[in-house]
């Protein structure tokens, strides 16, 4: 079970980061619309992106749920981005609980742009069985896993390492991304589990207009992503796995906020029939320098 001290630490951490981020100026980045798929672009060095994501999911044979996570994404260097997630969920007619944290790192091994651009991904998860953010689908994950009550599900501990190979290419405004996932529980004798995510997206206009505007077509990026499980080491393949198809759209606002929306549809009986995801994010530049000043005592 995720105990109370961890919950408190997560809350305090989130508040501290937000307070520090307030000291750094906001910045504008051209964000992709994907919620599950990763492209090969990392966070700008020294910048912190604070994000809130939310997913409403339908549940056959149980209560619908609303899961959510806060994400703190920091560009340590131009080739390394590190992120912390704090997860929670509300199951209707049940309860609202904190379900754990994830720590993710993405490293870009190649310095320049290539025909296909690889990024290596490493994540550690410390979550309970009640986690429902569905940030990735792996192994034989399915709708039935989410039907247990929170009281029962949170008794299960998950300490998991997750590795991904992210491949991405941008050509004539189109971004095509493919992610392959392998996950292994640190505790117990669970087998390696596999999954995938693919996505394609494009800004609605490739040329920028001369004036600052909120509703210019260039501020909108639309696309589609598909993700699902690929079984495990003992039963690799599509049998008894769940899959989703989700149109995605992002609105990069001139006020430094980005809004994402994605209705997702389950593609087989193992999947949740419908997932509505949305997220809001803001990027703060110079966060690393702010921390450096505080820790190093340097004056501007």
């Amino acid at each position: 079970m995720i105990n109370r001290p961890l919950h408190t630490v997560g809350f305090v951490f989130g508040l501290s980061v937000l307070a520090l981020a307030a000291l750094a100026p906001p910045a504008r980045a051209q964000e992709n619309p994907y919620i599950i798929t990763y492209d090969h672009y990392l966070e700008e060095p020294g910048s912190l992106e604070v994000e809130y994501f939310s997913a409403f999911g339908t549940q056959r044979g149980g209560n619908d749920f609303h899961s959510f996570f806060a994400e703190f994404e920091y560009g340590a260097t131009a080739w390394w981005t590190t992120e912390l997630y704090l997860d929670g969920q509300t199951t209707f007619n049940d309860s609202t609980i904190f379900t754990g944290f994830r720590w993710e790192n993405r490293v870009r091994p190649l310095q320049r742009e290539h025909f296909i651009n690889p990024v290596l991904y490493f994540e550690y998860e410390h979550i309970s069985g009640a986690d429902k953010i569905l940030k990735e689908i792996e192994g034989h994950d399915g709708e039935a896993d989410a039907s247990e009550s929170n009281a029962l599900a949170r008794k299960e501990h998950k300490h998991e390492l997750e590795f991904k190979l992210l491949l991405s290419k941008t050509f004539k405004g189109w971004n095509i991304a493919e992610n392959t996932l392998a996950a292994k529980s640190i505790v117990g004798a669970n087998p390696w589990e596999f999954g995938y995510a693919i996505g394609a997206s494009r800004p609605l206009a490739l040329k920028a207009s001369a004036k600052r505007c909120s509703f210019c077509r260039e501020n909108f990026v639309a696309g589609v992503e598909m993700y699902g499980g690929l079984g495990d080491r003992h039963s690799f393949g599509l049998h008894d796995t769940s899959h989703y198809l989700a149109p995605v759209v992002a609105w990069n606002m001139p006020s430094n906020w980005t809004l994402r929306l994605s209705p997702g549809f389950g593609l087989n009986d193992n999947s949740h029939a419908f997932l509505l995801r949305w997220g809001v994010s803001r990027e703060f530049s110079g966060f690393g320098a702010t921390i450096g000043r505080i820790l190093g005592g340097r004056k501007q």
Binding site: P45, A78, P203, G296
Partner: protein, 153 residues
């Protein structure tokens, strides 16, 4: 036997976590130290311009005669570049001046190549996430600025 292996794995894993945490905290400090020396005084930062392939150097700017390209490029520069290169492109603590002779004399194709590929090891991210026309608009804007000496006269 299994328990021992799990315990060993956990210990190694915790050590790795601590190491990565330490690195994540150290990198901003090192970056802050580096920032003390103004980037624009280090002329080696412009050496990357010479690394552009001939084919890239020879590329022509399709936005060169677009009347709106300078204004649009200026807007994009403010949004994505000014934070590091300064509002007037004369350089900042993190990144060099783009009004230096080396940059202003570079071909549009060279600047487009730098913008697309970044200089990752020096902290400049790749900007291929901006659509190609927008990168050319930024190049058009940069070329319109001229060298810093000229503007100060």
């Amino acid at each position: 036997m299994t328990l021992t292996r799990t315990a060993k794995f956990r210990a190694i894993f915790r050590a790795a976590l601590l190491l990565i945490c330490a690195l994540a905290l150290t990198v901003p400090l090192i970056s802050a130290q580096k920032e003390r020396a103004p980037a624009q005084k280090d002329e080696s930062v412009y050496a990357e311009l010479a690394k552009a392939p001939k084919k890239a150097v020879a590329r022509r700017n399709p936005m060169e005669h677009d009347p709106e390209a300078v204004a649009a490029g200026g807007k994009l520069f403010d949004l994505h570049c000014a934070e590091c290169h300064g509002e007037t492109a004369e350089g900042g603590r993190k990144a060099p001046s783009l009004r230096a002779r080396e940059v202003q004399q570079a071909t549009p194709g060279t600047l487009f190549w730098i913008l697309t590929n970044g200089v990752v090891r020096r902290g400049m991210p790749v900007w291929s996430k901006l659509p190609e026309p927008q990168r050319w608009q930024i190049v058009t804007y940069l070329k319109s600025l001229g060298p810093a000496e000229k503007s100060s006269q």
